[in-house]
Amino acid sequence: MNDSLRLLHAEWTKFRTVRGWVVALTAAALVTVSLGLLSASGDHASCDRDGRPADCPPPAVGPDGEQVDDKFFFVHRRLTGDGSITARLTSMTGRIRKPDVVPRVRNEIAGVVPWAKAGVMIKASMTQGSAYAAVLMTGEHGVRMQHDFLHDVAGRPGGVSERSPRWLRLVRSGDTLTGYESADGTRWTRISTATLSGLPATVEAGLFATSPGDLTVTPADLGGHIAAARFTEATGEFDQVALAGTLSGGWRDDEVGAQYLNGQVHHPGRSARSGETFSVTGVGDIAPAVEGMTVERPLSGVLMGLLLVIVVAVMFGTAEYRHGLIRTTLLAGPRRGRALTAKAVALGLVTFAVALPAIAITVTAGGQILRANGNAVLPVPVLTQMRVVAGVAAVLALTAVLALALGVLLRRSVAAVLTTVLVVLVPHMLATTSVLPEAAGQWLLRLTPAAGFAVRQSIPEYPHVLWHYTPIAGFYPLPPWGGLAVLAGYTVLALGLAIHRLRGRDA
């Protein structure tokens, strides 16, 4: 066994032989689990059916397992085997509901929201969440090719009008769908190619329109913001519509994902046809869901657990000085960098080992409680869930090491605990409550060790979905591993300074 492993063994023995530390660390795990499960059991959801509460219908799920919005108006024909659909879009207009100025009088204005969509689509079936590919025009993001909710490729930017129409084409060849666009119907530019594995032989091909809610963010009276999404609709005018391939049946109009209110479709779309011109109007969105309960929701108790972890970690460091043990420690391991590194690694491993099962239980059992209470939890891949669990355990372990390093640097327990709380917990609390301006909160979550909490975010921020992506809503400014790397950087820096100070001084 080499030097470092022996010292690691010794530090582990040191830790486990002080009962207070073991008790406090166990308490940290129990607090994390119990607060998490308690908060999960407080969340109930139910839906109204015919005036009576009932279980909510299961949300639509896309081909990759994620929860999706899949609501649009579809004018389509049945296409079997290879083929294509081509259409010329000559106009895209819409209506947006704004806050009522006169009570009970709808205040609607003409306008198209940035991610309103109108274009051509090939979809596996009329079932919500089924595979699709589409070439479409948007309100403000030009032409795009999108498929299966998550994937978005930009085509030519700009708008659409009768003078500068946009030609859109989607070609199916086996599982491969290729999107093209053109300004004149003659010279075509390929946008992208999508592979929809398992696409059935017979699919629906047609014209569609949809329009997500108009997102408005207004400052709230007591700090923070109120985000509201109001009804909008979008209308695409198409002509020169051409379907190639083996077609069956005639044109059909369908509301995909229709929602019913009092027996009627709520905010229905519509279509009109005059000669060769199609007008399609839709309400809704075709996009991954970003709003809802997340797998990390039950992890609210982690902050309390972390507070206990910080106290134990600081004590583990300052005890060396309070009792003069540091000299004994350095006699046993005279190479000081190794001695302190062994201490840090031992503490980090112990914390991780205790936190990992606690967080795994909280997320799994918490998720079950949420679902049992009728809540829909946004599904995420197993790997993402594992990243959330291991990542949050790593946040606790890294924070413990940071606290230890500060304890060794400051040699005062109270000062070290307060400093750690100030740099890790306080920025996170400020950024995830309505205390600070949003931008300030986001900078805190980029620049301070609190950036590490980004690792708990399970639903990503989608560039092609407009949403109020804020820390309060669970969206962090840095990517998960990037945020964790910031915390790790601070931890390594503090440990380096502590080692430097330990080396440079008489013990």
Binding site: M1, D3, R6, L7, H9, A10, E11, W12, T13, K14, T17, V18, R19, G20, A319, H323, G324, L325, R327, T328, L330, L331, A332, G333, P334, R335, D506, A507
Partner: protein, 301 residues
């Protein structure tokens, strides 16, 4: 590796205070070397420098020929007792030794052996925070013995020990030296070392005042003086003076004579028919020898 401690020309200042001022000495194996001097003479600082805890401004300190910081499993080379109070109060005595043992790749069996050796077996599973000073001292000695090291350094090991404990400590030191180990044992009380040290390094003001065997030191401090008890002091003074001795009157019936060996004193007094009851060669105590040596050092502080 030869079991020695070699200290050469150590100098160290703490601010404006000179703690070590050219400290040099060597500790040989098979001997107990007493490290004596008044408080503040630099004993603890020297020990900390030897153990790599403090860095000297100048000079070197080697253990078995190498600096302490380069040792692998250092506690198997050098055992040290510096501050017996340096304990986590909530940890048991056995667990305190256990983490130390683990740091050196040793296991619980060795811990139980040293606990037996220092007589702490029955208190092994008690929290060290409740230990008396004497028990802490024994625990500190157990820690020093843990790695079965050929070199031992004990700072004031007799602190807080009861008389029984002091006797035990003397026996332990003698037997450890008898096994060929090199021992450096510091004390500010010379009397504590009277029956255990073979060699003395006497320090004051951060340097060595005397580096000598205990036998030589006592002989030198005795200075060939004799004590004479007589009821006829004036006659004795004049007779011995004529014979070339220097005589001082210690009290009414006691003279301290130097310059003549005891048998000549007896001859002179007998020849002049001066009555006397006792002529004794004066043997200085270690304490006196030490005080004689250090008084100068103390004066110049």
């Amino acid at each position: 590796m030869r079991s020695t401690i070699e200290v050469k020309g150590l100098r160290k200042r703490f601010g404006r205070t000179v703690a070590l001022d050219g400290m040099s000495f060597t500790v040989e194996p098979g001997e107990v070397t007493g490290f004596v001097g008044p408080n503040g003479a630099g004993k603890s600082t020297t020990m900390r420098v030897i153990l790599g805890l403090d860095a000297p401004d100048e000079g070197s300190a080697l253990v078995g020929g190498v600096p302490y910081r380069t040792l692998r499993r250092p506690l198997t080379h050098v055992g040290a007792l510096l501050d017996a109070a340096a304990l986590q109060p909530g940890r048991t005595a056995r667990n305190h030794l256990l983490w130390l043992a683990h740091s050196q790749g040793l296991d619980g069996r060795r811990v139980d052996e040293v606990l037996d050796q220092v007589g702490l077996r029955s208190a092994a599973r008690r929290r060290a925070g409740g230990f008396s000073l004497g028990m802490r001292q024994r625990l500190g000695i157990a820690a020093a013995l843990l790695g079965d090291p050929p070199v031992l350094m004990l700072d004031e090991p007799a602190n807080g020990l009861d008389p029984q404990g002091i006797v035990w400590m003397r026996g332990l030191l003698r037997s450890l030296a008898g096994e060929g180990r090199a021992l450096l044992v510091s004390s500010h009380l010379m009397s504590e070392l009277e029956d255990s040290a073979d060699h003395l390094v006497v320090v004051g003001n951060g340097r060595v005042i005397a580096d000598t065997s205990v036998t030589d030191l006592i002989a030198a401090a005795s200075g060939g003086r004799c004590t004479v008890r007589t009821t006829a002091s004036p006659a004795a003074v004049s007779a011995l003076g004529r014979a070339g001795a220097t005589v001082t009157v210690a009290d009414a019936g006691t003279l301290v004579v130097s310059g003549l060996p005891a048998e000549r004193i007896v001859a002179v007094l007998t020849a002049d028919a001066v009555p006397f009851s006792e002529v004794a060669a004066h043997r200085a105590t270690l304490e006196e020898a030490y005080l004689a040596l250090t008084s100068e050092a103390v004066e110049y502080r």
